[in-house]
Symmetry: C2
Subunit: 494 residues, 2 copies
């Protein structure tokens, strides 16, 4: 390590104080390992600044020494976006910045620091009789700064939009350490470029989000949950369009579940039972909700169900008769994901196509992967209303799966091969190879194959404009070489 | 004119063919004059390309010769953003590109060219049993490309969002003539930066939008309209929050109207009558709507009204009993704007603050302008649910106003003075000096006073990254000097 780098590390340590530095090797682990264990991080220093000013000072010092800066929230992303990859990298964990700065029920807004855990924001909103609608599997540990940086999706996108749609303003530390204060509760502001859009979904490559003003909504008073059996996936599309129209656009979630998902869940997760008498090929699970008491939702839903049954669109149906039953039905959706790890290895894809092409896409993907790997077991589920398909391919069944569910290495080794098939078909259909999880490291090298060259040029132009020295989360979204080739030479003090 | 410029003009003419060039002096007028007559344009050539390829060729040729390029839609913007200001400028009118390329009711999407008139898009959606919710005064002549470039707002923002929220994908001709095809009906796509956000609201300074994929919604089946009398503006905020919650978030418009507005409308516009027995200080006009038949909206609204009456929040109220009566009530809102021109000159402001501070803002603005210009008559109305206040100050009443409503020049001459007062207060309250109309030329020179320096730096960085030669709509949003000072020298072939 050169003395310049040593001096920078020393100054950064001083800037955050002893409480802001992680030195304990065991504690360091959680910042360096990634949920699925796909990446192992390397870093020179892990800091946990307590304020925006401290983040700014850390970035200023690191940038001056040309050290790579890697922002990290709850570290629950699945693409390696928060994994540091350089022995000189400064990992900036936002976890100590977890204050809710303001909540205003009349404005339907909340202003929180980046390190706030999503579930805590949901709770704070609820305490003010409001709803913060972002909802996803990791909500108990993911942080809002990470949700913003990855433009998180989840169950509620259909009705409330994704993270981008839920954000009114941002506070960001720029790659040179300056602070841009773009917070504020304005619903309308057309004074120039909408700068917050640059940082949302940029995976930390353009700056570090330190705080945000977010939209709140009226809290639902009535929720009705339906679990319907379908003969084929394509019936879900028609059902979705009809349900959306008939519900007065109050369809707040709409998920597709395959028979295999229900089987997996019932086999491995305690308390999961098939709510119907006989098996069906597909299921649609959806919520209709209203913040208006006496909205007559249930009667409308009953009418709707008898109409679609008469039209032959559904084979069977259950309408939850209590909140508890609703939770039981939703538990199937979660249990299916959980159960997959007891079925050996799986190769996962997070793709999207136009809503109307979801069934066609699932069909094509299934045929293609089954032809490539005999006996493999694709599990296709997802947020149909957003066109988002989670296409997780489980390894072929084997006799010893029950006693040894550990992934078969030879199967996992075929990840890139399956990725190629799946992403190739999705691209052909005008879809996206990353619907909600982002690019990170995982899909970085694939991106140039599927994104038009003009789009990549525009992305690089923006990156160079805001971070000419490529200090912010280098090697994420863009390959290192990609930027090096065009940007001014990296003057790393090695 | 140098021969290089002459050659460029000749090549551009050839690229669009005779049908694509406007030479007739009378016809030229509509491209050079601006709605309110505040600006008079100058241009070297007006072209009307028929396709994206033609737009690209025009831009490529103009950019190569470093000619300023000014995109224009319906020319209904009120900030001068579409006014060419240079004898060598190439004005690119998108009006011939008015095809609807695709409409997909199952996907709830429509793909249209930039020159489509907003009302035509609304009609196409309706024909497919869908709603395109953008709705504003100029909808009969404004074009969607302009709506996108200015991130248009209007009545429906409260429920459906502004133009930015309604856009799924864009096709854009970049400042060097390359085409970025970012069309597509994906609801979720996290493959890198969300490039469309750059061009929406950029007022043509980063490229020319040539087509867009837009969101559609289920069509409302039931609409209930209420017109309520309030003792003070601040009661509207409380009423809004309650109505939003009680309506199950199906409040699709919420407007504030002052007594003066109703007076003006009744005085000058045929068919406008006060729907109440005695005058009140303020009125709230709102719609609750649902695409679900049998949604029980009316009963809920009646319950809501008796509750707010009991709480002393409203002084009187009318619930429209027919579609015709609903239209009559909404006619007051439109007539108020129309009527103002019969009351002499007016100096207009389009500002926003947090929703909860709308009443406070109106109060402060009113006190301040009345103190500065004795007898002036502020008309404060707007989209309360978005925090958007239209603060239009009419000149003091004079005896001959009835016979001579032409603006008093001495009053109009005080525009910048009033702007300073109004924008100063709004800025102090954390608000925006342009809620929905943009910056254009009108607010360009004021912007640096109200926008943080860091934000302006970021904007300039993006502008330079995408349009290093400042050929796209120069002198809009940014002052010419602003960019010149930092960008590489302009090599204009003069």
């Amino acid at each position: 390590m050169t003395s310049a780098i040593e001096a920078a590390f020393k100054a950064i340590r001083a800037a955050v104080g002893p409480k802001g530095v992680v030195d304990d090797p065991q504690e360091l682990e959680r910042y360096l390992t990634e949920t699925r264990g796909m990446y192992r991080g390397r870093t020179g220093l892990v800091v946990r600044p307590a304020s925006t000013a401290e983040v700014a000072e850390v970035v200023r010092l690191a940038a001056a020494a040309r050290l790579p800066i890697v922002p990290q929230g709850g570290n629950t992303g699945l693409c390696g976006g928060a994994v540091p990859q350089d022995e000189h990298a400064v990992l900036v964990s936002l976890g100590r910045m977890n204050r809710i700065r303001a909540i205003d029920p009349a404005d339907f807004t909340i202003t929180t620091e980046a390190g706030c855990i999503l579930a805590d924001i949901q709770k704070a909103a609820e305490a003010a009789d409001r709803l913060f609608p972002l909802s996803l599997g990791a909500e108990g540990s993911c942080e809002i700064g990470g949700n913003l940086s990855t433009n998180a999706g989840g169950i509620g996108v259909l009705h409330y939009g994704n993270m981008r749609d839920l954000c009114l303003g941002l506070e960001v530390v720029l790659p040179d350490g300056r602070i841009w204060n773009g917070l504020g509760a304005l619903r309308k502001d057309n004074t120039g470029y909408d700068l917050k859009q640059l940082f949302i979904g940029a995976e930390g490559t353009l700056g570090i989000i330190t705080a945000a003003t977010l939209k709140l909504f009226p809290r639902p008073r009535e929720i009705e949950t339906a679990f319907l059996a379908l003969a084929k996936a394509s019936d879900a599309m028609e059902l979705f369009a009809r349900a959306r129209a008939a519900s007065g656009d109050q369809l707040t979630a709409f998920e597709l579940i395959p028979r295999r998902g229900l089987d997996f869940a019932a086999r491995h997760v305690a308390g999961i039972v098939d709510p119907m008498d006989r098996p069906h090929a597909w299921y649609a699970l959806f919520d209709v909700s209203s913040s208006r008491p006496g909205s007559n939702l249930r009667a409308s839903l009953e009418t709707f169900l008898s109409e679609v049954a008469e039209a032959g669109l559904i084979a069977d149906g259950v309408l939850a008769s209590s909140e508890q039953q609703s939770q039981q039905l939703w538990r199937i959706r979660e249990a299916m994901v959980e159960a997959q790890k007891y079925e050996g290895g799986s190769i996962k894809h997070d793709v999207s196509v136009a809503v109307s092409r979801v069934a066609e896409c699932i069909e094509r993907l299934t045929v293609a992967v089954e032809a490539r790997i005999l006996g493999c077991r694709p599990l296709a589920f997802g947020h149909v209303g957003d066109g988002n398909i989670h296409f997780n391919v489980s390894e072929p069944a084997r006799p010893d799966l029950k006693t040894d569910p550990a992934p078969t290495k030879a199967f996992l080794a075929r990840r890139l091969e399956l990725n190629d098939i799946v992403h190739g078909i999705v691209a052909e259909m005008g879809g996206s190879i990353s619907a909600e999880h982002g690019i990170g490291i995982l899909k970085r090298d694939e991106l140039p194959r599927y994104k038009p060259a003009v789009a990549l040029d525009l992305m690089r132009a923006v990156k160079r404009a805001l971070d000419p020295d490529d200090v912010m989360n280098p090697g994420k979204v863009f390959t290192l070489d990609e930027l090096k080739a065009e940007a001014r030479p990296r003057r790393r003090a090695r």
